[in-house]
């Protein structure tokens, strides 16, 4: 579980996050949504510890990130998996090498154990064995995202962060990625936080949705509650698409 308590963050006097509190539960896909520039990425990076917050607390179960030493933060990071917007796979390493990297760096597994783990992770994201030796530039965007997910789960993380995992993907592949993240979250009981502005993802896997606007928490609920939120800003954001607006009218 990750608990965020009253966090605020400003850059050069510009308040980007204002007193946000929220609890992200394990085994659920927790979504952060909002317009571009609303503070989603800053919130995600603050929770990750990439930005130092100005005030508030971030609890990873019973550990407060704000008070952690560098050593403790490093230890925490070995429990975190992250899927970046562009995949962020290492260009000079094959698919297999990318998933193997955290195992090489942080475990004392033997060679065969590592191979077994790499195969386990890549099988979970449905990557064919023929693709193991290919380089990231030789595979499709959807495959890159799946390899990034495989790499993120290689160390069996307790916490999984995804920054716009569907960006640049077609709707069908996006749905596959969403379902994959949800399935892995449930299987490994991870605390998963997904940063997105893809409405399909919200409808598909939004078990817990946090909507932020101009750095403030506007609404929290589930995908089922989103149609009747009664929040004007959320409605403006969600139903900007005419199809969704018509769907709401017809429910």
């Amino acid at each position: 579980m990750i608990e965020v308590k009253n966090i605020s963050k400003a850059f050069d006097g510009n308040q980007v996050l204002k007193d946000i509190s929220i609890t992200f539960e394990p085994g659920k896909t927790n979504l952060i949504i909002g317009r571009s520039g609303s503070g989603k990425t800053v919130l995600l990076k603050s929770i990750l510890g990439l930005f130092d917050i100005d005030q508030g607390e971030i609890w990873y179960n019973d550990r407060n990130l704000v008070q952690m030493s560098n050593k403790e933060r490093k230890l925490l990071r070995s429990e975190i998996g992250m899927v970046f917007q562009g995949g962020a796979l290492f260009d000079s390493v094959s698919v297999e090498g990318n998933v193997r990297f955290p195992l090489d760096m942080f475990t004392n597994m033997s060679g065969p154990e590592k191979i077994k783990r790499v195969q386990f992770c890549l099988d979970h994201v449905n990557i064919d064995r023929q693709a193991y030796k290919l380089y990231p530039s030789e595979i499709s965007g959807g495959m890159q995202k799946r390899v990034a997910i495989a790499r993120a789960i290689a160390l069996n993380p307790k916490y999984l962060f995804c920054d716009e995992p569907n960006s640049g993907l077609d709707p069908e592949t996006s749905t596959v990625i969403d379902q994959l993240i949800q399935a892995l979250t449930k299987e490994f009981q991870m605390t998963t936080i997904i940063n997105t502005h893809d409405m399909n993802s919200v409808i598909e896997i939004g078990e817990s949705v946090l909507f932020i606007s101009k750095g403030e928490k506007e609404w929290v609920g589930t995908n089922r509650e989103i149609l009747d939120s009664g929040n004007q800003k959320l409605d403006d954001f969600i139903f900007a698409n005419k199809l969704y607006a018509q769907m709401k009218k017809g429910k």
């Binding site: 070995s78 290492f90 962060f161």
Partner: protein
């Protein structure tokens, strides 16, 4: 935001303090080191050989032209070529050329990793990205530079020995006598010290520009250019400083 000279100096040394820290896993760094020696050093061997042969030949012709006086012995052509190669070309000029080749390679590689979030990815895994990416490059370049220097001197002298007799300005025996005449081994020691310093600059300065790049492909390109220009200026500055300190 306009960033001052002292800001860059401070951030450069702050980066170096991150680079020279205890590695997470020494085995991974050693593997990376061998890859960098191959990528940055071994892949530069051919360009060093080609440039050195040509420059050696050109210098031989120019010395012969400048010393075209019956009072000067022809052996001076070999001596002049040797000392120029030993003292300046094979260390400083080579470093300037390598700043273009290796330096831009380092900046664009690390810069691309930065803008495609690969460095953030390393950091989130708990890897000290500065150390993992930059330390092996610095060690590889500092290690390989003296070898490239020795190779450059050898092929430069060879270039002179082939070109001199070919254009008829000096005979092979005169040239060989010349390159053995008044030889001071300290010149080699002095140049190897310069190579170690230049190797450090050629790897660390471009790494700095790549590591802190912000933006996209355009900014990576600009950072590469800045890295090469700044490295060249620093090489010349340290050349002057070391020459003053060690040779005069």
């Amino acid at each position: 935001m306009r960033m001052g000279f002292f800001f860059h100096i401070g951030r450069y040394f702050s980066m170096l303090s991150k680079v020279f820290t205890r590695p997470e896993k020494a085995k991974m760094y050693v593997r990376q080191l061998f890859l960098e020696i191959d990528n940055l050093g071994v892949n530069s061997v051919w360009i060093v050989i080609i440039i050195s042969i040509f420059i050696g030949g050109i210098m031989t012709i120019q010395f012969a032209h400048a010393l075209a006086n019956p009072l000067y012995p022809n052996e001076l052509v070999g001596l002049g070529t040797r000392d120029t190669l030993l003292l300046e070309f094979s260390s400083t000029m080579l470093a300037l050329i390598m700043a273009g080749k290796i330096g831009s390679n380092i900046t664009s590689e690390i810069g691309t990793m930065r803008v495609t979030e690969q460095i953030d990815s390393l950091e989130i895994m708990g890897v000290n990205s500065a150390s993992y990416l930059i330390f092996p490059k610095i060690v590889a370049v500092v290690f390989i530079f003296p070898f490239l220097y020795i190779m450059s001197v050898f092929f430069g002298l060879l270039g002179g020995m082939l070109t001199g007799p070919l254009v008829g300005v000096v005979t092979i025996p005169e040239y060989i006598d010349g390159i053995q005449w008044l030889f001071y081994p300290y010149y080699v020691t002095f140049s190897i010290i310069k190579c170690l310093v230049f190797g450090f600059l050629v790897s660390s300065v471009p790494a700095y520009f790549g590591y802190y790049v912000q933006g996209g492909a355009l900014e990576v390109g600009k950072a590469s250019t800045k890295a090469v220009v700044n490295t060249n200026i620093l090489i010349l500055f340290f050349d002057l400083l070391l020459t003053r300190l060690l040779l005069t």
